[in-house]
Point group: C2
Chain length 384, copies 2
């Protein structure tokens, strides 16, 4: 758990305060743990942050007080620790009662109705803050997190190299006769021994017809000659997530397997080729989709091309289609433009019920001049 | 993923409908995934259920439609599938607009303010349902889940036997010189190979002074002669969670280590001895706490004695103290009484800064006549 340097944290605070100003807010109650980690370096499971005009208040409980006092607070500009007494929300309410700042926002996507009602009730009798004075706000920290800073990029590059090393070992060990869950257990063990805190999500090993389900769970099925096998896994390294997918062939692939694989591989290259500063995320998706459609696989590509990576395994941007007419794939909600420092997956796939599936996924970062791959594993169809 | 038998699901529905009636509600929008699984057997990651007077509506997306049609719906009385179009909340709003039931509750602890506001806005212009007609509700399904039924108990007993087998192998493999994270990786691998879907939480391996932190994360520290090492881990088996902790001594324990261990072991036995139908959960906690206080370790026991287990790793009941004067340990919120079929952990501990910690944890079930242990691993101090 490396603490981000104070100057980078100060820059993060400044960017979010600027966003607050645009929304007419003076302060923000931050409730989402990845947002709290981004602003402070605090890596515990539970805390509340109030980003105020002149300070940053971190509310946490006895489990984490020593860590905050010795590691987090000394490296986080303007941080003040408030200890929970007796509960988080009571402590937050007590703080807000004495908080002399007019327009306070809160992360409405990260507070439940139950907690909001209790908080509102606790503030109702405060003369200086009438009921309802807390203002719902959205995406203020998330928007700042899209463009990674220097320390984040260094972490993600290192994580990409580590997951690539894991993937090369994993791919070298896949054999006919193994059960899906055994392969998944091997992968998870290699992730843990490969320098990661934990797998970033439930590892997918989908063999033969199971590969037609993009989110298949590893089961009892044994890998058989003639199968395509989709292996999708990731790891968390110093809080940051990376994610990779390869599809292998058990024994010599058939003509159809080869055709589908080559189309997906070409779609991925086309998508990565479309990545550059100021490109729209929807252009990246359309580049992959056009290749698959040209191969008659348009309807077999039933998800978005990629998703942002960082302190969460799925974060902004969503690299999805502009079009609203693709069954099962919601269009990208906004016309996001890529910028240097944006990190995301590029993972087109094709899923054919009864036959199986192919997905190829790498992680990339937008640079000043184009794109860099964070993962580095052979992309040719591996025959095991 | 075994589907619960239809008659048990019908009983679960009836219990929750009775609870709804007590609250003056006619239907409930269920948003919490473990609650949805409990009511339907649906094990996917995303769905919404509306428990109506005469049916149970399951809203889910294309990823899960086949599973629901072939496995879940045939075994779940009154289930009707509604496919997401285009988003979950739009589908829910469309359903509620045509839903001719007056008093509809929703799980306010599982809906964010952002989603609630969007849903309220979508319903505002519906003549039959004015804004605000959705009624916050709490703990209606959770309360039903406290007392496990026959199929749940069978699953939990099997899971307890499996985690005990894992624990015996793990304890036999701990050696001086291993790093904490290496031991944790071994444990996680054995959990996966021992019949579990995944670890139930981040495995804890806390050696020497690190053991003084109840939620320590496994790090680079090597196990040294003279250490006490706390090993806390669990697994998910067919959706149900079990949880076990043992503390071992690296080399011959010192006098203080032996004294603390024996006190915690006696506290655990006292707590389990207090378990019987109609006992208050606070009595179980007090039984453990009294033993530790008699050994001068009262202030070293800085958490509750246990927590319920089931579809979640932490669920009701919270087996905590009645007293409000224990630093860091909130009192149990209600005077819960034990009943046959309630499953929970019993895990007293003692944490001494600079020295280390001891925790011993087993899972138990309340029976008609007393208590059964679900886990079965030697409880004497193991010297490795």
């Amino acid at each position: 758990m490396a603490q981000p340097p104070p100057d980078l944290l100060a820059t993060r605070h400044a960017r979010v305060r600027t966003a607050l100003g645009r929304e007419g807010l003076d302060a923000l109650v931050v409730l989402h743990q990845p947002n709290i980690r981004y602003l402070t370096g605090f890596a515990g499971s539970t805390a509340i942050v109030i980003l105020a005009p002149d300070e940053l208040v971190l509310v946490t409980d006895g489990r984490y007080v020593t860590e905050v006092e010795t590691r987090v607070a000394p490296g986080c500009p303007g941080l003040r620790l408030v200890k929970v007494d007796p509960t988080y929300d009571a402590t937050l309410a007590a703080f807000l009662r004495g908080f002399d700042v007019p327009r306070v926002g809160f992360e409405s996507a990260h507070l439940t109705v139950k907690r909001f009602e209790a908080l509102t009730a606790a503030l109702r009798d405060t003369p200086s803050r009438r009921a309802g004075a807390l203002i719902p706000a959205e995406r203020l920290v998330e928007a700042a997190r899209i463009r990674k800073d220097a320390v984040e990029l260094e972490t993600l590059r290192r994580a990409g190299a580590l997951i690539s090393a894991v993937a090369r070992k994993v791919l070298g060990g896949v054999r006919a006769g193994q059960r899906e869950w055994e392969v998944a257990a091997d992968i998870d063990d290699r992730i843990r021994r490969g320098g990661f805190e934990r797998p970033a999500f439930d590892t997918i090993v989908a063999s033969g017809p199971n590969g037609a389900l993009p989110h298949a769970r590893p089961g009892e099925r044994r890998l058989e000659p003639g199968d395509l096998v989709v292996l999708d896994f990731g790891g968390v390294y110093d809080g940051y997530c990376v994610d990779i997918t390869r599809t292998v062939s058990v024994g010599t692939p058939g003509v159809e397997a080869r055709r589908v694989y080559d189309a997906v591989a070409a779609a991925q290259l086309a998508a990565v080729g479309a990545v550059q500063p100021s490109a729209a995320v929807t252009d990246v998706d359309e580049a992959a989709r056009a290749v698959l459609e040209a191969h008659g696989l348009g309807s077999a590509f039933s998800h978005a091309t990629g998703h942002g990576l960082g302190l969460e395994i799925h974060e902004e941007p969503r690299v999805g289609p502009r079009r609203a007419d693709i069954p099962g794939v919601p269009p990208a909600g906004r016309d996001d433009r890529l910028e240097p420092g944006v990190v995301f997956t590029v993972e087109p796939g094709a899923y054919l019920p009864g036959f199986g599936g192919v997905r190829i996924e790498d992680d990339v970062v937008v640079t000043e001049s184009g794109v860099d791959w964070l993962t580095d594993v052979p992309r040719e169809l591996l025959v095991v």
